[in-house]
């Protein structure tokens, strides 16, 4: 059966990962019709939603894990995967279980989680520091201390793409690392504006202002262009999720020797377990429905998980697979995962609407000379009105 | 019931564009085979009336009959009319032949029949050599002939012309006028012809209807219209240069006014008895006798020439009578200079008399 799958994974590492899924699906005698839309979720989402609304949905689509699909579920537009989940014991194998919770609505399961992504990483180019005769920083503070020398050598200390989600993401990473997990959850989960406006977050905003200084001069848009600056040594570091590792891998770099990764910026080693999931719009054709369920099951198979996550640089959603020859950074991630140093990701906690507002604020903050205090005040306001 | 020999009858025709009343309960009967000219100044509703007859405009009220059939709500093509427009309105992308046969093809007339009719029309109009040209390759006169031909082939009862000659130059206009007249003689169709050119109206018409503000002011033969205008408007409108008017009043059969005393013995009154009243007398410039003829005129006077316009065949003299301009038309050979005193003579039999208030003919 031909299944059309829409996603926005079009960077080198991502496309490589998708092809693993496609290969696996094609190997079952079905056909994967790739519906990649470049340009990120904002370009792809209207297409997905309007096609579902118009009654000509694709067979499966990728969404960020979280509350994005809630309304589609409410409207009965998505396929109920509960039977697949039960048959394949998803409850037992998916780890952390919060991932499956995010797929669950009123007791039924509507999505197949595919990977775990964590934002909480900073990537550093070892060679830049070696050339300057400096030790590679092991946490944010050291990084900031050495930044002047890096800048003096004509390198950009911190690479940063121009898109709002990158800037907001980096901020959240700083928040967890500097203000700590509790404060982070108080703000993002409990929507406590007093914390958002409080002294811990004031420090976060100060740090963000510093990061803003350090990222002056990186005139790139896409995250992977920023990553590429680190890979080529034009920049020393980047705060970016683990998907950046796919780019390093594709460029033939080795973790530990060529680049260093610092989970939780080396201050507060923790992962936020967000990730991607596949949703399956409800279809009339029973044959298609059966195939959709087959695909859902396939996505969680250990072999698929290994192949996909190795290519994408993300972590598998089941603890029972052996990633085999994983590199340094993946190992660090797996360890954190195993030790339960996990917290829910911001996208799963906040509504897209609030996320958008936060993104708007932070991108403005990042590109202007807005005072940290002003930004914090507006941030607290957004949190206060979040739903 | 309609009179048996009427071709087109119009009953109480009224037409409004929004608030503007363009035609006002108009009645008109046109005889079979008659050449009727609708004459009037610009905007008086001539084209509107013609378009109503053609079915191109829907009247607000009233009825239209053609050959005894009530056609008020029929399509233009079902009325048995053909129409010729000022701008020719030829279909630019079709050849002359295509233009002529378009209506017939629409009516699904058999091929052979179309051909013979086109050939006949082309012969009558002498446009046979042009049949395969496009309108762009024709002169104005040729175009207008094709436009007439388009009505001709359709074998219609009534021809409608909307100022067909006014886009042509003077010479061509004169020629085509004569041809039209010949055509009418040979076809014997009813023709309704709109123009604002008096010469065309006078030369072509069996009868002329003078229109003003959506009403018919007078309907009559050219001779009647010219010599016995029913009201001052018609009198003024017809004739170039226009009629001279002298204001005054009637007193027991004599007209008194501005240096002029006119015993109206020779004048045929429209109404049997005319009471004394303010009146206007009108006299055409060419009816003012000059030179040797003055002596035989019943009334004589003298004016001073102010301006002389030699027009080749005639000479027009502008003079003054009681402070109002007074025009005299003289022979082309006449030699008059501005400032000359001119003896003139007036024959009441050739004058028109109007009531000063109603402006109707007395």
């Amino acid at each position: 059966v031909d299944l059309e799958v829409t996603h926005w994974w079009t960077s080198g590492g991502e496309a490589n990962a998708v092809s693993k899924l496609a290969d696996a699906w094609n190997a079952t005698g079905n056909k994967w019709i790739d519906g990649a839309i470049a340009g990120g979720g904002d370009t792809a989402r209207p297409i997905m939603i309007s096609r579902i609304l118009g009654g000509d949905p694709m067979d499966a689509f990728q969404f960020n894990h979280g509350r994005q699909a809630e309304e589609l579920i409410q409207a009965g537009l998505l396929l109920d995967l509960t039977d697949v989940a039960e048959a394949n014991h998803w409850k037992d194998i998916v780890q952390p279980s919060s991932l499956l919770d995010a797929c669950t609505y009123e007791g039924k399961i509507y999505c197949a989680p595919i990977n775990i992504h964590s934002w909480q990483w900073m990537w550093l180019n070892n060679k830049v520091y070696e050339d300057l005769g400096l030790p590679v920083p092991t946490n944010w503070n050291e990084f900031v201390d050495t930044a002047d020398e890096v800048a003096a050598a004509g390198k950009i200390p911190l690479a940063m793409g121009g898109q709002p989600w990158q800037q907001a993401g980096a901020f959240n990473v700083l928040a967890t690392a500097i203000a700590g997990q509790d404060a982070y959850l108080a703000v993002n989960r409990d929507k406590d504006e007093s914390v958002a406006g409080g002294p811990e977050f004031a420090k976060v905003f100060e740090a963000a202002a510093q990061a803003r200084e350090l990222s002056q001069g990186s005139n790139v848009q896409d995250w992977n262009q920023a990553t590429n600056m680190v890979i080529t040594g034009d920049a020393a570091a980047q705060i970016m999720g683990d998907w950046a590792q796919g780019e390093f891998a594709l460029a033939g770099k080795t973790a530990g020797t060529d680049y260093t990764c610092l989970p939780g910026l080396g201050l507060n080693a923790i992962l936020d377990a967000g990730g991607d999931a596949f949703y399956f719009p409800a279809q009339d054709d029973p044959e298609t429905t059966a195939a959709q369920k087959e695909l859902a099951a396939l996505l969680l198979q250990p072999e698929t998980q290994v192949a996909f996550n190795a290519a994408k640089g993300s972590l598998p959603i089941r603890g029972d697979v052996d990633m085999g020859t994983v590199n340094d950074c993946t190992k660090k991630g797996l360890e954190l995962l195993a030790s339960g140093n996990v917290m829910p990701a911001g996208t799963t906690l906040l509504s897209p609407d609030t996320n958008q507002q936060v993104n708007d604020l932070l991108t403005e903050f990042w590109a202007s000379d807005m005072a940290p205090a002003d930004a914090q005040a507006r941030y607290a306001e957004i949190i206060a009105s979040a739903d | 019931m309609l009179a048996p020999n009427t071709s087109v009858s119009i009953r109480d025709l009224t037409l409004q564009f929004g608030a503007v009343q363009v035609l006002q309960t108009l009645n008109l009967d046109i005889r079979d085979g008659e050449f009727l000219v609708l004459l009037g100044s610009s905007g008086c509703g001539k084209s509107t009336l013609l378009n109503c007859i053609a079915g191109l405009l829907e009247p607000t009220d009233g009825q239209i009959f053609i050959k005894g059939r009530n056609v008020t709500w029929l399509e233009p093509s079902e009325r048995g009319i053909g129409m010729v427009f000022q701008s020719y309105a030829l279909y630019p992308q079709m050849t002359v032949r295509g233009n002529l046969s378009f209506g017939l093809r629409n009516a699904r007339v058999p091929k052979a029949e179309i051909e013979s009719r086109v050939a006949r029309a082309a012969k009558v109009l002498q446009i046979e050599p042009l049949l395969d040209r496009k309108p762009a390759a024709l002169s104005g006169g040729q175009r207008q002939r094709v436009a007439i031909g388009r009505a001709l082939v359709r074998d219609v009862d009534v021809f409608l012309f909307d100022e067909p000659l006014s886009n042509l130059d003077a010479k061509l206009r004169a020629d085509l006028r004569v041809e039209l007249k010949r055509l009418h003689h040979s076809l014997d169709n009813t023709m309704i012809y709109v123009t604002h050119d008096q010469v065309e109206a006078m030369t072509l018409a069996d009868r002329i209807a003078i229109m003003r503000n959506g009403r018919i002011m007078q309907l009559g033969t050219p001779d009647e219209i010219y010599n016995r205008p029913q009201n001052r408007y018609v009198a003024d409108f017809i004739g170039s240069p226009s009629m001279n008017f002298v204001e005054g009043h009637l007193e027991r059969g004599t007209f008194h006014g501005a240096d002029l005393q006119l015993a109206l013995d020779g004048y045929r009154f429209g109404a049997p008895q005319v009471a004394d009243r303010p009146a206007i007398i009108g006299i055409r410039p060419e009816h003012v006798a000059t030179g040797p003829l003055v002596d035989s005129a019943p009334i004589r006077g003298e004016v001073t020439a102010e301006l002389v316009e030699p027009m080749g065949s005639d000479t027009l003299v502008w003079a003054q009578l009681a402070g109002k301009p007074f025009r005299i038309r003289m022979d082309g050979q006449a030699r008059v200079s501005p400032g000359d005193r001119l003896p003139i003579g007036i024959d009441p039999a050739k004058a028109s008399l109007f009531d000063a208030k109603t402006e109707e003919r007395l």
Partner: protein, 310 residues
């Protein structure tokens, strides 16, 4: 004034025919206008009404009939991004209208001076119109890129201090977009203006020459005022493009840097599809529509409603 009747005017009882039903006249014309009427009423009016209606609801990813009154509007007008958007639209709109019209008219007058190679110049000025905004945005993003583009080239020629980087400056970014917008839109304006200029009576030019009016003054005092309808047409055309400005921004800056080049249409898109807050998007688009309607209705009435034949 008595209307003269010929003697044989018939009795008024001659068969009268009643006016047939108006609905049944010109059936083919009525059938043929069905698509147009449907598009106008169902799509343009209907969809707009639908949008306005849902702007009073709390619709998220999907339309949802949960009324919240004017909440969406309150939120809209208290969002800094919206303010930035309309500010940008105002700057871009006013400048692009003025500049495309001025440049378009200027080019048209140059070409109207019987220049050699008019065809070539006209094609050069017009071709950008054939390219989509996406292409336009990308091309200009590339040219204005400080690392490869104009700035780099000028610096490499020796002017080290030269700085021209509008796309990465919050203050200048909208002007960077403007450069691209003008590049794309001027050609069409020029074409229309040229057509308008060619439509002006030769005799007016002659009269002005006889009066001793210099050429430039003839343009400013006589020709431009005469071209009012042409200017109106182009203005409408340019304005309708300005309101919809989206693709260009999306391709050139994606609203950046830091949201400094946001525009209303993008705000609508971001709200509807990024934030999955349809209600907010609908409120924003309703505001856009409202402003258009306020500007346009009187104009449309004057231009099209008043007179009978175009």
């Amino acid at each position: 004034m008595a209307v003269t009747h010929p003697a044989e005017v018939a009795a008024p009882d001659a068969a009268r025919v009643r006016r047939p039903s108006r609905l049944l006249r010109n059936i083919p014309a009525k059938i043929a206008s069905i698509p147009m009427v449907l598009i106008a009423l169902v799509i343009f009016v209907g969809c707009t009404a639908w949008t306005v209606f849902y702007s009073f609801t709390k619709s998220g990813m999907l339309p949802r009939l949960q009324f919240v009154g004017l909440d969406q509007y309150d939120r809209l007008w208290s969002t800094p991004k919206w303010w930035t958007s309309i500010e940008n639209l105002a700057i871009y709109g006013v400048l692009s209208m003025i500049l495309t019209m001025a440049l378009g008219f200027f080019l048209a007058t140059l070409l109207d001076r019987k220049v050699r190679g008019e065809d070539v110049f006209r094609t050069i000025f017009l071709y950008p119109f054939a390219l989509s905004f996406i292409v336009t945005g990308l091309a200009w993003q590339w040219i204005l890129n400080p690392e490869f583009g104009i700035q780099a080239v000028v610096r490499s020629l020796g002017w080290e201090g030269f700085s021209f980087d509008p796309l990465h400056s919050r203050e200048l970014v909208i002007y960077g977009i403007l450069i691209a917008g003008i590049w794309q839109g001027t050609g069409l304006v020029m074409c229309i203006m040229l057509a308008g200029l060619r439509g002006i009576d030769e005799d007016i030019w002659k009269a002005a020459r006889v009066d001793g009016i210099p050429t430039w003054k003839t343009y400013t005092h006589v020709v431009i005022p005469m071209m009012r309808p042409v200017f109106v047409t182009t203005l409408v055309l340019v304005a309708s493009g300005v309101i919809k400005l989206y693709d260009l921004v999306k391709a050139q800056t994606d609203g950046g840097p830091g949201g400094a080049s946001e525009v209303p249409a993008k705000y609508v898109m971001d709200s509807m599809f990024g934030a999955q807050n349809l209600g907010q998007g609908f409120a924003a688009s309703t505001m856009m529509l409202l402003s258009v309607v306020i500007i346009l209705i009187p104009w449309a009435y004057l231009e099209f409603g008043g007179k009978k034949r175009g």
